[in-house]
């Protein structure tokens, strides 16, 4: 009987910075771990939430059945029940709090983009390395079953030598001119715009699936230059990119074509990539995340080629066997459950987070490349990527 198991399953306390949109899927992941994975690698407990506005964080704690709440992350990090620091805060609170958490020996899960710039990211990476804690950057799309399947197919040689990575993360979320000058539109707070918010995800998939870029050429644009200050009729300046487009060269010789934009009407969550290799092609669109399109140049019946429209919802597919019977689709938030399970396993089994998950090194390299893109856009020439 497995109930005795319960006593042997490790419990891991988690403290979360943030309680809004970014944190909620993290909370869901914590709460559903034992229901989805049985037995789970560990039973995570959400020990505390932290946020700036006392009333709101308190209410969130009530809503999510979290016992403690803090308004100062420094205080939260001192809590002895916490072993994992889950940073879902805004970009400008990533570095300092993660570094402090690492110093305290906490394992770190930090949302993307890891930092506002290369320097910050490097300090964070140095801190977790020094502390020898487990660390992960929240590139949750590695944990979409279709993306994981793509990775496995590439590793198995199904696609052959990769020639092209062709990807775009396009949405229309920023087009409403009535959206005020939130922190995400301000360089000092956000670091970059569409690039960090969306493009960093796509770039992570490029690295995950193809390899390291060695150079970039890029252009960047701000389409809407002014927005109203929050709660004011005054205008302020948008100081981050609305769109960035970039060409990449990969170490292995593949060509990369990358674009991200918040100004594409009708594109709601269009993180698309296509990979063309010597033996086949793969493409994926986050708007249809339960599917992967796969073309194999060699097929059993030569007249029956054409992209397969694979529903990645079979028990034999990555991540799916814990879910439902064949054909029952997953949603966006479920990637966070897969991600957290991977991180918990790394902690309790002392296994590496990479290569299936993204570490803070992946987060750092991601920032380095984004910074190279912005520099290339500024200078109008090719920039080599140097980690």
């Amino acid at each position: 009987m497995k109930n005795e198991l319960l006593k042997t399953i490790p419990r891991i306390g988690v403290g979360i910075l943030g309680y809004g949109f970014a944190s909620r899927p993290h909370i869901v992941a914590l709460k559903r771990m034992r229901e989805v994975y049985w037995p789970p690698p560990a039973i995570p407990e959400c020990v505390a939430l932290c946020g700036r506005t006392e009333d709101k964080v308190k209410e969130a704690a009530a809503r999510y059945e979290v016992k403690k709440w803090f308004t100062d992350w420094r205080e939260m990090l001192k809590d002895p029940d916490i072993q994992v620091f889950d940073n879902c805060g805004a970009n400008d609170v990533h570095a300092e709090s993660c570094i402090e958490a690492a110093k305290r020996g906490l394992h770190i899960l930090c949302e993307k983009p890891l930092a506002r710039n290369t320097e910050e990211a490097k300090q964070m990476l140095d801190a977790v390395r020094k502390a020898r804690v487990k660390h992960m950057t929240g590139f949750n799309y590695r944990f979409v079953p279709a993306v994981r399947l793509a990775k496995e197919l590439i590793l198995q040689g199904v696609v052959g030598e990769v020639h092209h990575f062709y990807g775009r993360f396009a949405v229309d979320r920023a087009m409403d001119p009535n959206i005020p000058l939130r922190w995400i539109y301000q360089k000092p707070l956000a670091g970059s715009g569409a690039l960090g918010a969306l493009g960093s995800h796509l770039l992570d998939l490029a690295r995950f699936l193809v390899g390291e870029p060695v150079s970039v050429m890029a252009q960047a644009k701000i389409f809407l230059k002014k927005r109203r200050l929050m709660g004011s009729s005054e205008w302020g300046e948008v100081t981050v990119d609305d769109a960035v487009s970039s060409l990449l060269e990969f170490e292995n010789g593949a060509m990369g074509n990358f674009e991200t934009s918040r100004f594409c009407p009708g594109r709601k969550n269009n993180q698309f990539f296509e990979i063309n290799g010597s033996k086949g092609s793969i493409y994926f669109d986050l708007e249809e995340m339960n599917r992967l399109k796969v073309y194999l140049a060699q097929e059993t019946i030569p007249s029956i080629t054409g992209f397969h429209d694979v529903m990645v919802t079979e028990g034999s597919h990555p991540f799916f066997k814990e879910w439902w019977p064949t054909g029952h689709t997953l949603g966006w938030e479920h990637t966070f459950i897969h991600q957290l399970k991977h991180f918990l396993e790394a902690i309790v089994k002392n296994t590496p987070v990479e290569p299936w998950g993204a570490t803070l090194e992946d987060g750092y390299r991601n920032v380095v490349i984004c910074d190279a893109m912005l520099k290339s856009a500024e200078l109008g020439k090719k920039i080599r990527v140097r980690y």
Copy 2:
């Protein structure tokens, strides 16, 4: 501050019959109510699970953090902490237990098909009517945002007078000849085959979206006539349909075309319907449940007609505003959260379950029509539907 709210929010105890695939999304719905809806209409608590095999139900209770477990539903129904009986058991335990629960004044949520045949279903309906409890049949697809949007559009007259309901629920789940003769393949236990398991869902959507059928003509087939007995090398006979196809006439003059099959290779969860009206058309496919296709005969720019590919993931769309920002897709199980919320509201506010949710009357009518289809298939002639 809303935390005081918590004390004022009613708590509702739920006892669940079943602990397998069918129950799990019900359990998830219970557990996530307050996270998804804040404040929730009520805070449901899973008081007990019930199943035949002690070890397994005990383990499930541990896994899902449910305090009590039973191996006899009669015992569970006596538990004073339970106000709602959630029946996720096999078809042959629907009637007796629901009738008993109704007698005890419990509200009833029963999985579909409501019963194995018209007689059973009628007794169940009589019981809940007599007991004046709230009752719901688990036609969860009414709670897909895209389906609800379809309903709203029809009510608003966007589609005009409906001429056609054209629907199919096709899967390939039963094609493997190694699947043994489970209860779902035996008429005494299941009542019917693809018809009750899948077709009943589609039929419910036909009734929900178009109205009452007045007659049916149908054919039914068993493609694989023998399967191995469970855990045996002996053969037993499949006594329920693998596929049923039916023509319907609706009260309002619309034509219906209905088919369900478990023998369609490549179709994984293909519950598809198309509705053609005098002013527009709508179609939906469960395999892409975050989308609704809508054609309007009159458009602002006459050359720009063509089906809209609507991602039903905006805050203004049904059910979506409690979820994520625009474009973040939902999965199959989330329909159960919407469904349960609706049922809880009906209980605590004493509002009707219908028309947005399906009552046991809907469940009963559904069985009546399915029985009429099977009779038509047997007799080779049109059968009028009589409730």
Copy 3:
């Protein structure tokens, strides 16, 4: 050098009844035979056009570079330069003229539906059999490359034993209430409505791909019961179906589901069919006629199943090698070129038209089944098909 070939290639004179929409693709097929096929099986020459309105047929002859024109088909049939009678006239002029042409020993290509009813069709079939001429019914969709590929795959056993034919031919062409009471809406002239005009095509594909139906159950509807008389403000009655829906049983045990309608907004030329077999599935939509979707239950890489989206535009695909390089799509009218080539070969090589092409026997059987459907709709019971 192939130029001497020209002298050895037989010339075949063709007389066409009709000069409007229905005839034009026939004329194109004649004119392009030698450009598409080189060397062609025969060089067809359009000797004469025939139509009721002298001015118009004369103008059409000028436009299409046809030397002769007639206003009486009896006169045209006497022309000694004509070996093939190509009947593109309205349904009510099919029988009499084809029978007369057969008596004169002309080969017959007749548009579908072959006749207004079973009796007419039988007389036509008797006439061509007696005359021992070559004969073909214009079911041009057998000559869509994707449809032919589907047929070949079924013959090769790729799909296995067929369980389902699921098809629909849906358009929205008849929904405009301002369309007058043309001959196509009148039973005495047209025989039937959507059924003969559209459904006959789909039914032919069902027979071509699956086999003979042995029984039908059907319903039929007229949604718009009155239309203005041509050039008048008076109203007349629509006496043919706007939509027919039918269940079929095939000789080989497969289930058929068939529907045709002219009242489906947004459906422009949606001749769709899906065939599910024991080993795979196929589907096709005429609106995307260069594609065939194919699912194979057994694939080389087990995780890579899913419908193939096959572009049927490779040199190795049916009909394509005479056309363009890979990936260059064909249009609707090109099917007529493939069809005519097949008929010319049958004539000059004395090979059978069937099974790749449809004979007048196929045309006759098609009418028999359509009549059975209408009878079933009237009587509300299953009707056996008897040829």
Copy 4:
């Protein structure tokens, strides 16, 4: 009666250089002009074909019913029956023959890419300007109904201010290593590779739909560096790009992202573009050329947004009314008929070829931009476009 018209319709003699794949759709366009357009703007006559291999050109003349044939284009250009020189030859015979034809006062239709490099293209442009003849570059995709509709929508302001042109022309045609070192793989003969052969088309659409690019940044790759010499077992070097990827800035501030490749398995004729503006988006894929996807940010029913899947096959759509009833699809070659009709009108009505058609100035500018891309790829920096 329109037959007298025939006498008044001008006849225009055309001489075609080339008789292979590239010429055949030109020949079809000539032959079908009066059938598709009635009355046609002019009746074109294919007076002569020209090719290097006497036997083959003679046979082609027989096949296509062309009276004269030449093996030296200089001789053909002297023929007094020819008013239009239609250059479908290889890239290295474009310049000299077109310049000579212009000197002789012939109107010029020249296939793309106009020339192997900027210098050649400039001389050609100078020649036709000096000769004051009508001239057109064969960018036939401007004449796809869906593309023309896109252009019209942009002109009408439906898309608003354009922010993004995102396009790719991807095929897999060059991946077979057994393809020998044809002229298209040799820089001295072809000028460039995928860029001129495919990318020039896409670039023309970018200019047609968005406007003039002012700068480019690009990368280029040769994936397969050696191929067998024609009819030999010796190896030769591929000296043109297999793929080119480029970022563009447009005069009007829009960002451009452009890629072309012959190494994308499964992509058969994937000329795709998406245009995102301030009010809407449009996308198109040549593999589904009868469709245009259109998103409008403002819709009548706010919940019904989503890309329209427009079948561009209505009589009210560009180019379609001369074709078939609603919903009957066109094929690739039909664009050549639309293109030739436009050119004939320009000749007989003395109207400008631009902006709907591409002139030799468009062809020249296209070459200039392609050369700038190759230069940017070589130098790794942004290159300004200078005409």
